[in-house]
Structure formats: structure tokens, C-alpha cells
Amino acid sequence: MLYREAGQFKTSYQADQAIFPIAQDRWFVWGLVAFGFLVLPLFADQYLYTEVLIPVLILSLAAIGLNILTGYCGQLSLGTGGFMAVGAYAAYNLALRLPETNLIVVFLFAGLMAMAVGVLFGIPSLRIKGFYLAVATLASQFFLEWAFARVKWFTNYAPSGSVAVGKLELFGMPIQTPMEKYLFVLAIVVVMTLAAKNLIRGRLGRMWMATRDMDIAAEIIGIRPLYAKLSAFAVSSFFIGVSGALWAFLRLGSWEPLAFDINRSFQILFMVIIGGLGSLLGSFLGAAFIVLMPIFLNQLPGILGIPMSTALISHLEFMVFGAMIVFFLIVEPHGLARLWAIAKEKLRLWPFPY
């Protein structure tokens, strides 16, 4: 009964094509955004910011990027970690060599550099499909990881190979305390999610989805496969690049190439698959799940009072993690987003059985 769209008729095409045509959805999302900006900062403590909210938001941005490439355009990629590294090091070098540049420009530059590299490594996708492409994108992952560990210019000749970021500030306001960092990340993520939603609803999104579903038919109705696939790689790498820069600047502070290794690519791929391929909401749900699960598992013995050695806990973490992935894939191959949709449908009937 809570979720009934009876009586909500659209009079204009614009209204019909809105992001959330059903009023309940609209209020829910506006409520969520307002909660994020206004209510949460009141009671969230430092640990909640740095270990839960900021990682989930930044990684969902990367998950959105990968979702655009794999969920909407059907190109499987395992190179996410490498593209995040490109964003991080591009931002670091720009901030180092031109210290006064505004933080927004730094992150935009990071996105653009990752976009360029993404397109370059997207070219094989024109001839290669499916798992061959996934393994081909591993070439970009290992090459980028190697380049940032070896070419000294990227890490400003630091003998240790690890680079660090100084004090951040935006239009004069310092971004130091966890809350400021959180609000900055939240603002960027909300804006970029809206941009992603608009791209997906528009012409570009349809081209991606057409290429995903049947690329021959797409070609025949006038969609150039080169344009569709490379634009997907470009936009996806832009999102991943910005997320890489955010991860380095706001989450880590000081990092080395190993922070963006192959495990990062797998982590983001897990988020997209568990969250739900081809759904922005799925990217957020997947990111939240993958970030919270290990933390929750580490604290579980403490809560239940069973003394466990850390080795056992971390082995358990591996096992439960693997089991959860298999469980979710069996129960709902289309991920948490579909579960959410089913829940909404249940809400439509809720007190009544049918």
C-alpha cells in the first residue's frame, strides 16, 4: 500500500521521461540526499566518515564507471585499478607542479587523463569480445601498475616510490576534517551520478545498450561500433579516474602503486556484479556491501564474544566473502538492485497477499 503510483498521470513528455516518474521514488531520493548533506554530519563520528561513508561513496563512483562500461555497454573490463591509478597520479602531478590550481580542476584533469588512457586501451575492444577482452584489459592493468612504479617522473623521484598529498583546500576553505572531506566527496558523487543518469537516459546511453544487446543490429541502425564502444570506455574511464583521484587525495593521503593493483579491479567488479549490472542504484548497493562486509565480519567475533585468532577471522572473511558472492548470484543473478526492485513491488501489495 505504501508504494502505489495510482493517480500519477503524466501530461508532458518531459514529465514522463523524468528520472523518477513515480512520486514515492522522487521523495525517497530527495530525502536521502538531504539526509546525507544535513542530518548525517550531526551525529556521524570520525570513524564512520573515514572508514565507511567516504570509501563507499568514492568506490561507488568507480562502480558507476565500470557499470557504464560493463553493465550498459557490455564490455567486460578488469583494468579499473589501472585507470584509478592514472587518475590519482595525474591529480598528484598537477597539484605538485601547479600548486594553486583549484581542486575541482585537479579532479577534472585526473578524469580527462584517465579518459585518454581508457580510450587508448579500449581500442582492442573493437576486434575482441567477451572474456578475451577481459584478459586483454588485464594488459592495461599490469602495464599502468608497472609504469607508475618504474617511471620516476610520475612519483616526483621519491626514493621510496610512495607519494603524499599536502593540505587540501577549495576556494579558500580548508578540507581537512573528516566531515569536510565527506561533504566534498558527497557533492562530487551526487553531481556525477546525475550526469551519469542523464547520459544513460540520452542518446549515448541508448547507443551503449544497443551495442550491448546486439552489436550487429546496432550497427545496422546507424550506431558506429567504434563510436559507441570508445565513448563507453571514455566516459567510464573519466568516472574511474576521478574516483581514483578522490581515493588517493581524500581517503589515503599517501599511497604507492600497490594501492591500485589487480585486487582493486576485482573489488570494483564484485561491486558491479553483486550490486547489479546495468543499474546505478546497484553500483551504490554493491559498493556499500563490499566495503561493509569485511568490517562487519571483523567485528563479528567481538560482538558475539567468541575469541578468534585474527588468522581465523581473515580466513573466515575470505570464505564468507566467496560464499556470499555465490549465494547472491544463485538467488538473484541481477544483484541487489533487482532485490530492491522486488522489494518495491512487494511494498506495492504489502498488507495484502496478492
Partner: protein, 266 residues
């Protein structure tokens, strides 16, 4: 809907001509020295028994296959190496023998996908979706709504195409092809697997498209009744060779066609 592109060819002139095209896959010869033309505004049928090379012919016209010999001239200019999206750009649209719709999208989105070539706004505007991008989106949405009304599929606008019955899927595919506002529409067995009542609907649509929009149509069909009623001229292919090219009445009486269909030892 405005008339097809203001092409300089007057009605009745040759819109597309196929000059002795030969297509072979390794040893297998699909088409051998086939030549025929399609005049502007007419409904041209291509018939022949199974495996005669009808779909291959369509694929050559639409640039999916590259013929080993011969050429095709469309709207006056002869083209050699052509990719399918160049054909689409030039104004050739088509439907498929076994429906090739985008399963992950709704019927409305499938038809809107047909508008891709017509929409011009760049990424930046699409991202903001305000001002010019929004007006463009709305304007093209209006155009698509006209096609939806024309094909009477208003009810299934938001339904993912995978859930639609076969007949409606064929209609959505026709809608997508019409959304490209083509000069030449290639229909590959639009009525295959349909019952009588659906066939009548589809025939009415084809005639309306031809009259209302003046679109030239090349039709591949097995149902002789439909072919004879709808088409102005008929090409008959058999084993990749053209054996007849005339009006429906002449073709009906042509002995070679009857042998091809009824099967005579060659």
C-alpha cells in the same frame, strides 16, 4: 511525418540498382550475377524458395556483406566498400528475419534508438539535459510517439521487448526502422510466423507506410497471396540466380518460377 529526404529522384525513377552482383562464402556461391533495380515509391518483392539467397541479397544492399563482384548504386552514386552504418546514414533501414531487437530496453527505447542518427546534441549537453538537449529529446520523442500511434502499440510503450509476443515484437522492429525515416525500407519476411489476422494488420501497415510516407519498400515474403496483392514488381531468385523479374501477374504465369517452387529435376 514529412516526406522522405528531399532526394532529387522523382517518383518512378530508379532509386537503387544492383548490377550483376556475385557473393560467395569460400566455395559456396550465394548470389551469381544478379541485377535488378528498385524504383522510387514502389513496393518491390524478392521471392524464391528457401536458400535462394534472398536474405544474402538484402545483406549486400545493406552493406553487411561485401560482394566479390558487381556493384550497387543508390540514389545515383555507385558505392564499393560500405559498412552497414554508412547504409543507414544514406537512408536504408531494415528489419530482420528473426527479430533483432535490443532485449535490455523497452519498446519506446528501441524505437528511440532508431533516432540516433537524427539526434545531434553532443555529450556535454546530453549530460546536463537542459536547454537544447532537452528540447531535442522531447522533439524526437514526439516523432516516435507518432510512429507508436501509427503502429497502434501505445499500450506496450514501457514494456521490455523480451516480454512482448512475437507479433508485437515485429511491429516494434518496424517502428524502429521507420524512426530512421528511411528512403528505402528492407523488410525481411515481416509476416513469418504470424496468424491471418496479424498478417492483415502488417500488410495494412506496409501499404500505409508506402502511401503515407512514400517510402520505397523491398519485401521478402513467402506468402504468395501477400506478395501478389502488395507488390508492384517481383524479382524471383533461385539458387542465387535471378530467374524472373516482372509484375506479379506475369511472374505467376512464368513456367520457370513454377518449376523453381514446385521443384523439377534440374
Amino acid at each position: 511525418m514529412r516526406a522522405p529526404a528531399a532526394s532529387d529522384i522523382a517518383a518512378g525513377e530508379v532509386l537503387l540498382s544492383v548490377e550483376d552482383v556475385t557473393l560467395s562464402f569460400g566455395g559456396v556461391v550465394a548470389l551469381r550475377d544478379v541485377s535488378f533495380d528498385i524504383k522510387k515509391g514502389e513496393i518491390r518483392a524478392i521471392i524464391g524458395p528457401n536458400g535462394a539467397g534472398k536474405t544474402s541479397m538484402l545483406n549486400v544492399i545493406n552493406g553487411f556483406y561485401q560482394p566479390q563482384k558487381g556493384s550497387i548504386s543508390f540514389k545515383g552514386e555507385t558505392r564499393t566498400k560500405m559498412r552497414p552504418y554508412d547504409a543507414a546514414d544514406g537512408g536504408i533501414a531494415r528489419t530482420f528475419q528473426n527479430v533483432a531487437l535490443f532485449k535490455g530496453m523497452s519498446a519506446l527505447d528501441n524505437i528511440l534508438a532508431g533516432r540516433t542518427l537524427k539526434m545531434k546534441r553532443g555529450w556535454f549537453w546530453q549530460m546536463l539535459r537542459i536547454g537544447p538537449a532537452l528540447t531535442e529529446e522531447i522533439e524526437h520523442r514526439k516523432r516516435v510517439e507518432e510512429i507508436i500511434d501509427f503502429l497502434e502499440i501505445q499500450a506496450i510503450r514501457k514494456v521490455p521487448v523480451a516480454r512482448l509476443p512475437y507479433g508485437l515484437q515485429k511491429r516494434v522492429e518496424l517502428g524502429r526502422a521507420l524512426a530512421m525515416e528511411p528512403d528505402l525500407l528492407l523488410l525481411d519476411e515481416p509476416m513469418a510466423g504470424m496468424n491471418l489476422e496479424e498478417k492483415e494488420d502488417m500488410s495494412r501497415f506496409i501499404i500505409d507506410v508506402n502511401d503515407h510516407y512514400g517510402t520505397t519498400i523491398a519485401l521478402i515474403e513467402h506468402d504468395m497471396g501477400v506478395v501478389m496483392d502488395l507488390s508492384d514488381r517481383v524479382v524471383v531468385l533461385d539458387h542465387g540466380v535471378k530467374i524472373a523479374d516482372a509484375t506479379p501477374d506475369e511472374v505467376k504465369k512464368d513456367q520457370a518460377v513454377i518449376d523453381a517452387y514446385l521443384g523439377v529435376a534440374h
